[in-house]
């Protein structure tokens, strides 16, 4: 695929984020072409979550921009044009959180149809049909009328993925979506993500699952101290990390 010719689906350009005196991102640039799966790894506190939150438009950048298909959707002092673009593409960016954040007062089905109904104005029948298809896809058809509290963590996270997919996003952001889960529940979530990648979803995945990054990632970015230290195809990165920091980080995962 000729990535150079097409505008990336989503791109960060010189992204800086400070919280008062705390300097979290110090100039991060990345670009995801269609079908890209970029896995971001790195030590705790390196700014991975903050990067994702900026891309999800939950944090405003201190400097730099976020673009979607070339159009600026986030910048430090957004003008009216950026605001309009932001509102227009907001729902094209799906995000899945470490702690699911399902709404506890709604059933699984209600969680999934809420945004399509309110934001896209879908009819109830349409939204329910789409939700049922998504539930089948994540293997939870029998849980449609259950409240989230009654589900295991792995099931809740799969519902959260279905909820994000219900808006037909152009790109999906995943923030350590298996970290809060017991090891035996991680597989079912990772399986759904693998399937999504295979179907050609564009994905930005922050993860500690090295096997996933190795097998599913089209590229891997290693973050440390608020910058991307190293980026490349997983094969190269995992076999011959160029920087010493990446080598030291990867050494932790060898047993």
């Amino acid at each position: 695929m000729a990535a150079e010719s097409a505008e990336p689906i989503i791109a960060a350009d010189g992204l800086v984020k400070h919280f008062g005196p705390v300097r979290v991102l110090e100039g991060v640039s990345l670009a995801l072409a269609e079908r890209d799966v970029l896995c971001v790894i790195g030590p705790s506190g390196s700014g991975k979550t903050t990067l994702l939150r900026c891309c999800a438009l939950l944090e405003a950048p201190t400097a730099g921009t976020i673009r979607m298909r070339g159009e600026v959707i986030a910048e430090p002092a957004p003008g009216p044009e950026t605001e309009r673009a932001r509102r227009r593409v907001r729902a094209d960016i799906g995000m899945v959180f470490q702690h699911f954040h399902l709404w506890p007062h709604m059933t699984v089905l209600e969680n999934i149809i809420e945004a399509p109904r309110l934001v896209k104005g879908a009819s109830r029948e349409e939204a329910v049909a789409a939700a049922e298809a998504l539930l089948a896809k994540v293997g939870l058809s029998d849980k449609r009328d259950v409240y989230p509290q009654r589900l295991s963590g792995g099931q809740q996270q799969r519902v959260a993925i279905a909820r994000a997919l219900a808006m037909n996003p152009k790109v999906m952001l995943f923030d350590e979506v298996t970290s809060a889960l017991d090891p035996e529940l991680r597989r079912e979530v990772l399986l759904v993500m693998r399937q999504l990648a295979a179907e050609g979803m564009t994905m930005l995945v922050v993860t500690h699952e090295m096997n996933f990054a190795r097998q599913v990632g089209s590229r891997v970015a290693f973050m440390d101290g608020g910058v991307i230290v190293e980026e490349g195809p997983p094969r190269d990165f995992f076999q011959r990390p160029r920087t010493e920091r990446a080598q030291r980080f990867l050494a932790q995962f060898e047993d």
């Binding site: 999800a56 438009l57 939950l58 799906g94 809420e114 945004a115 934001v119 994000a164 808006m167």
Partner: protein, 221 residues
Amino acid sequence: MFTYQFRWDVVPNNLHFIFSGMQMTLILSATTLAIAMVLGLVIAVLSMARPWPLRAFGVGFGELIRNTPVLVQLLWVYYVLPIFFEFRIDAVTAVIIGLSIYSSSFIAEAYRAGIQAVPQGHREAAQVLGLNQAQTFRRIVLPQAIRVTLPPLAANFVQLIKYSSLGAVLSVGEVTRKGMELSSSTFRPLEIFTFIAVLYFFICWPLSMSIRAWETRLARR
């Protein structure tokens, strides 16, 4: 030593009179609760507003009311407010206004706690899915906040039933005032005030117990 001769018959003989007072008590409390629920929401929203003058007003008003005695507030509304606004208000209106203001400052806290109890992540999930602020508040925050807020609201109703007895000071004919009037005409304060205390208890106690059961049930969810 204790040679007091009980004369409980003053109670059944004046039951109608006492119950009319109880009716007034409940009407006062319910009216006040209704007003305080609206006023409390206004104060809660102000105290969480982004512009600082609104926030300062909301927070300051709440602090002022919660840290002054309710009786002083009632007297202030009844005697001082008419001087400012140059119109007389009757005692019932004064009690309703005074207690509403008092109660709203506590109810505002309950609302605020309820709203803040909704995890930020729930809001962010809605935001990422494209819901705007109003939709997020109405569909995600409010339904969750209300659950947490209902028991404190009910507890406030119990408070109001008790505090409405302060209306007696302004000669409002609620049940405590009726008791005062009866005891001075019959010279039977012991029987009358005992009966009235028991009456309050058997209204407030079941309410309090149900609220506690309700809270336990909510906590288990």
